[in-house]
């Protein structure tokens, strides 16, 4: 089992190495096949790990394995170590499975891009990093994976590097995440100092047992981890990078900025839930941040005009649900939503990618209209994705989102607040999801649609359509692995690693879906009224409340605030240091010392009259002085 886990981890790395070494010897398409193929190997290995683990006793499903000592200093020793347990296997399956589908899709999508090899190598690098993240057996290796997914994300966002918007977006993503990493690493320092080790076995064991962490220390540790998680998962207030990250090619958005990397924060909280449980206040903070993100992202998504940005905000909002779940202690519910979200969000992005592909890279939804007739299959896929997103049964989102709401109802203090937020979120989700669907696909085709689409009815090559088909199937059936009131496969599977802190009763499991479904239906109907047919409601609303509309369109001014509070003061400080300290004091200090020595010399040089007599007189005077001193001393 351990062997297959190692194979799953390193297969994509081998893929990267192959593509990098082969360079021009392989075609772009072959590079794509190598990348997707290596991910497929990974997926198969993950499946076999899963199958073997199924045979184990539920309590004995955690296995550590160390390849070699990666770093050591004094008593601190950190190995290249993996932990294979139900949680890791769950994530491995999602990452390698969805990864394989998206990498396959990318072969068709990137056809014709002349730097395609680089792209496929980056993609495989990402899958490797993500697997390292989810399989890591200690916090430092987890941080390595964590940083490397950030790096691959950076490389892929600015993949089209001639566009300065893409370059800026890549840098922004990297730096916001670097702040998260900084918080993360500080809690690692604290853990190393307090516990003397970083592997999960020792950390969780000693944190619970032998070494009592003081409550302040526990809170700081949990806050640091939360900081990392919030940045990576694009939660308020460190979310600003995600919408910009849509500058990357669409499969990148699907894989990294929807299905896998951005959910790493959720995974981190579940993985280190032992530490979070020592600081319940931080866990509540996570849940509330998730709640705030649900509302803010859902509201902003209502006014976005870029097809990918709408989906990006929806991703933030959905991860908000996951944060709320894990913050409430409903770890399995969060992971379940993570999985279903990976399916339907990847589906939405890939369908959106097909649209963009078909319209020659047009992303503005105001220019799209009535694409349903020209792109029927894409339309159907998009529709199913939208239904799942809006949590309409029987699609996956319905089951997973409603488990979260049920758990919220079961939690005492902040649960009801989050439950209410979740319901408002459900309404918002249905509104923005169907708004997008209606604007893009219904009504008469727009000019641009007619220009691009009348000639052929070609929606995409097989390599693009097959993965979409697979995801449609998954979106349709995946929800049934956990049915409220029925069976709880995900809960049971994750029970030994991360047991939920509360158990919703049967009525909660029924009441929540009913309420949520009612609101989702209301949202759908409203969306149809507003955007499904010609309506002046949105325009009227805008002119009636210009302030509110402006705030939404400016995304609640987060970017502007960071600019004013962080970016510009830092730049001003840098300018000040350069102009007032470096240049006048440090760089010219030597010149000034030299100058003053020269001046002193000039002053003394006036004694040199050049007159022989004055020298002789000085000599004689000196002699007389010495003689006088001699006589006086005697």
């Amino acid at each position: 089992m351990i062997a297959s886990a190692w194979i799953a981890l390193f297969a994509p790395a081998v893929g990267v190495a192959l593509i990098a070494l082969a360079r021009d010897a392989i075609s772009r398409q072959q590079a794509g096949i190598i990348a997707a193929g290596s991910t497929f190997v990974s997926f198969t290995a993950s499946l076999s790990t899963f199958a073997i683990m199924l045979g184990d006793d539920p309590e004995e499903r955690s296995h550590f394995s160390t390849l070699y000592t990666w770093l050591s200093a004094g008593s601190l020793e950190i190995g290249l170590q993996i932990l294979v347990d139900p949680l890791a296997v769950f994530m491995m399956l999602v990452v390698s499975g969805v990864g394989f589908l998206i990498l396959t899709y990318a072969i068709g999508y990137m056809h014709g891009d002349d730097e395609g090899r680089r792209y496929h190598a980056y993609k495989a690098l990402f899958v490797f990093s993500m697997l390292l993240l989810v399989q890591a057996g200690n916090l430092l290796i987890l941080l390595v994976g964590w940083g490397m997914v950030g790096l691959s994300s950076y490389l892929l966002i600015n993949y089209w590097h001639q566009r300065s918007s893409a370059v800026a977006a890549g840098k922004k993503a990297f730096i916001v995440n670097a702040f998260g990493d900084a918080a993360f690493v500080i809690s690692i320092f604290l853990l190393a100092q307090q516990l003397g080790a970083l592997d999960f076995l020792t950390v969780f064991g000693t944190a619970l047992g032998s070494i009592k962490l003081s409550s302040t220390v526990a809170v700081v540790i949990a806050l640091g981890l939360l900081g990392g998680a919030v940045a990576k998962s694009a939660q308020v207030p460190l979310h600003t990078w995600l919408p910009d990250a849509m500058e990357g090619p669409t499969p990148v958005s699907a894989l990294i900025h929807a299905a896998t990397m951005v959910t790493a924060g959720v995974y981190l909280i579940v993985r280190t839930h032992v530490l979070f449980e020592l600081a319940p206040a931080v866990l509540d903070t996570a849940a509330l941040l998730g709640g705030v993100t649900i509302l803010i992202a859902g509201a902003v998504a209502l006014v976005q005009t870029d097809i990918k940005r709408v989906i990006a905000y929806s991703t933030m909002s959905q991860i908000g649900y996951m944060f709320a779940a894990v913050g409430l202690g409903a770890f399995a519910a969060g992971m379940f939503h993570l999985m279903t979200h990976a399916f339907f969000k990847a589906l939405l992005f890939m369908a959106a990618g097909t649209v963009i592909h078909a319209l020659a890279n047009e992303q503005d939804i105001r220019k799209m209209r009535g694409l349903a007739r020209e792109l029927p299959w894409t339309y159907r896929a998009f529709l199913i994705g939208t239904l799942a997103l809006a949590a309409i049964p029987p699609f996956a989102g319905f089951f997973s989102k409603d488990v979260i709401l049920a758990h919220a109802l079961a939690e005492g203090l902040i649960g009801p607040i989050l439950w209410a937020i979740g319901l408002v979120g459900a309404l918002l989700t249905a509104l923005y999801a169907f708004r997008l669907l209606f604007i893009v696909f219904t009504a008469e085709p727009s000019q641009i649609a007619r220009r691009h689409l009348h000639r052929e009815r070609f929606e995409g090559p097989l390599s693009m359509m097959l993965p979409i088909g697979a995801l449609v199937a998954l979106t349709a059936v995946a929800g049934f692995i956990q049915v409220p009131g029925g069976w709880h496969a995900v809960d049971t599977w994750l029970e030994p690693v991360a047991a939920s802190l509360q158990k919703p009763s049967a009525w909660m499991e029924i009441a929540s879906p009913v309420a949520a479904l009612a609101l989702a239906a209301l949202g759908t109907v409203l969306a149809w009224r507003f955007w499904g047919r010609e309506s002046d409601v949105p325009a009227k609303a805008r002119s009636a409340y210009p302030r509110a509309a402006g705030t939404l369109e400016q995304k609640f001014y987060f970017d502007e605030a960071y600019d004013a509070v962080l970016a510009r003061p830092t730049q001003r400080l840098a300018v000040f240091l350069k102009r007032s300290i470096e240049e006048p004091l440090i760089l010219s200090s030597l010149g000034e010392i030299a100058g003053s020595v020269r001046e002193l010399g000039q002053r003394f040089s006036r004694l040199q009259t050049g007159l022989l007599r004055s020298y002789a007189l000085a000599l004689a005077a000196g002699l007389a002085l010495i003689a006088a001193v001699f006589i006086a001393v005697r």
Binding site: R23, Y68, T69, W70, L71, S72, A73, G74, S75, L76, R118, L140, L143, V144, G145, W146, G147, M148, G150, L151, Y154, L155, N158, H161, Q162, S164, V167, G170, K171, F174, I175, A178, F179, D181, A182, V185, I186, I188, F189, L190, A192, Q193, T570, Q571, L573, A574, V575, L577, K578, I581, E582, L585, I586, L587, S589, L590
Partner: protein, 482 residues
């Protein structure tokens, strides 16, 4: 015997180059390259012959020099100095290779000086006698002064003289300190000298090393020297020569002056912390590639100081690892900056941009090195910085927080430098015809980058094989054994 050969082979070769009436510049370069390769071979022999389990001083050569003063010729290698000597030979080989490829005027003088520098630098790392150490430390200065002052850029004269005056000031203070220390101890043999509690002697040493490294605010010589020197000399200066100072702190100051060091721990840490943030902010304002690298180098040296001054296992191991990592990273980056300047005639970001398109090798190498330099988790630099900050965290959490913030800022300026060179629209100085890296340049850079990748996969290779495989604290802080 091996240590003496590794030190004096390049010096002898330098003398031979000056004496021989060689006409062909290509032959001169090839001879220098041959000597560089021979040095790598010698180093490999030394490393293979070094018993890492036993640790301590090995490959020792001793001879009497001034008997009555207690001065001797004594050279040898510790495990951590072995790594630094390895860094020196590797980076110098790359520098010789680059200079051969780029072509330098008056090659006999040039390569002779380069080889002299190589010998002197190895001498610094190998010397086990204070006076001998001083001789080698000063001997580095002569070739550097000439190399910057004659073969440098437009403001080379000023850069060279500033560098010379700053460094001389430090070394003269150090000479006084060495004499005072040696005479009170009765011997200059570093393996026999005892612990001193004199703050004045300590300050004499530390100021010299703070200028050479440099530590903020003693870096007045740095921007000009790194900008004006030929790229391969800047690579050597920032990659290797700066490490002699931090090495000397590890080898001389920490074991010999524990008391004054403890008194000055906080002030020096404060200077290093200021330097970290200051360098990151200034690097962000630099208009050119080499300016960014210069200030980045200041920041990295500050970080090494932080690790050294943490005075514990994690900090010392991290500093030691970071010396090697930063040596390779900054050498590679300066050579890449040289390659960019060679093609465009400028390092100004305003003139650059869009070089990635059609130049995959240049782009790959610059991105790989840059990404390692900004300490992306998983890189060797990350491993070292983690150890450094983890070490200083136990001294005071504030230092670690400042360090972490500075590293985030470092990520920002390094990404700026990368994308201003490689990405966005094609800059005015970048011509369609300026080619990708040539095979020779790839050959020069590949070993450095390969070493960096190796250190990323296996940082324990160095951190576990320094200080006898034991905790650094016990080996360094509580006396180096002979």
């Amino acid at each position: 015997m091996l240590t003496t050969v590794i030190v004096f082979l390049p010096i002898a070769a330098a003398l031979a180059l000056w004496a021989l009436p060689l006409r062909s510049s290509r032959l001169t370069g090839l001879i220098a390259l041959g000597v560089g390769l021979a040095e790598v071979g010698l180093w490999s022999t030394a490393a293979a012959g070094y018993d890492f389990d036993a640790g301590g001083l090995q490959h020792v050569v001793t001879a009497v020099w001034f008997e009555d003063l207690g001065v001797s010729y004594k050279v040898g290698m510790f495990d951590f100095s072995l790594w630094l000597i390895g860094l020196t030979v590797l980076v110098t080989l790359a520098a010789i290779g680059y200079a051969t490829w780029a072509g330098r005027e008056r090659p006999r003088v040039y390569f002779g000086l380069l080889l002299l520098l190589l010998g002197a630098t190895i001498g610094v790392f190998a010397a086990q006698d204070l006076l001998l150490f001083y001789v080698f430390f000063e001997a580095m200065l002569i070739p550097l002064y000439v190399l910057i002052g004659v073969w440098g850029g437009r403001n080379r004269a000023r850069a060279a003289i500033t560098f010379l005056i700053y460094t001389m000031l430090g070394s003269l203070l150090m000479l006084v300190a060495i004499v005072a220390y040696g005479l009170t101890e009765g011997t200059f043999d570093l393996t026999q000298t005892g612990i001193s509690s004199s703050e004045w002697i300590f300050l004499g040493f530390i100021v010299a090393f703070a200028i050479k490294a440099p530590l903020w605010p003693f870096h007045g010589w740095l921007p000009a020297a790194y900008r004006e020197a030929p790229p391969e000399i800047a690579a050597l200066l920032s990659g290797v020569i700066s490490k002699t100072a931090t090495y000397a702190i590890l080898r001389i100051v920490i074991p010999s002056f524990p008391e004054p060091l403890a008194d000055f721990q906080d002030p020096i840490l404060a200077l290093a912390a200021v330097g970290l943030v200051y360098a990151a902010l200034l690097a962000f304002r630099q208009p050119d590639f080499r300016g960014v690298l210069a200030y980045s180098s200041l920041g990295q040296m500050s970080l090494i100081f932080v690790g050294l001054l943490a005075l514990n296992d994690s900090g010392l191991s991290g500093a030691n690892l970071q010396m090697i990592n930063h040596g390779l990273v900054s050498a590679a980056l300066f050579l890449l900056a040289g390659a960019v300047e060679y093609r465009t005639g400028t390092g100004e970001f305003r003139q650059l941009g869009g070089m990635a398109r059609g130049r995959p090798v240049l782009a790959t190498m610059l991105i790989v090195t840059g990404v390692i330099a900004l300490a992306v988790p998983g890189s060797g630099v990350f491993a070292a910085e983690f150890l450094v900050l983890n070490g200083v965290f136990t001294v005071g959490w504030g230092w670690a927080v400042v360090g972490v913030v500075a590293i985030v800022l470092a990520a920002a300026y390094m990404l700026r430098a990368i994308s201003a060179t490689l990405h966005r629209e094609v800059g005015p100085a970048v011509h369609e015809s300026s080619c990708d890296l040539r095979p020779a340049e790839v050959g020069v850079l590949a070993p450095l980058i390969a070493a960096l990748l190796l250190l990323s996969f296996y940082p324990a290779g160095v951190s576990d094989h320094s200080f006898k495989g034991e905790p650094a604290e016990t080996v360094i802080v509580s006396r180096l054994e002979p």
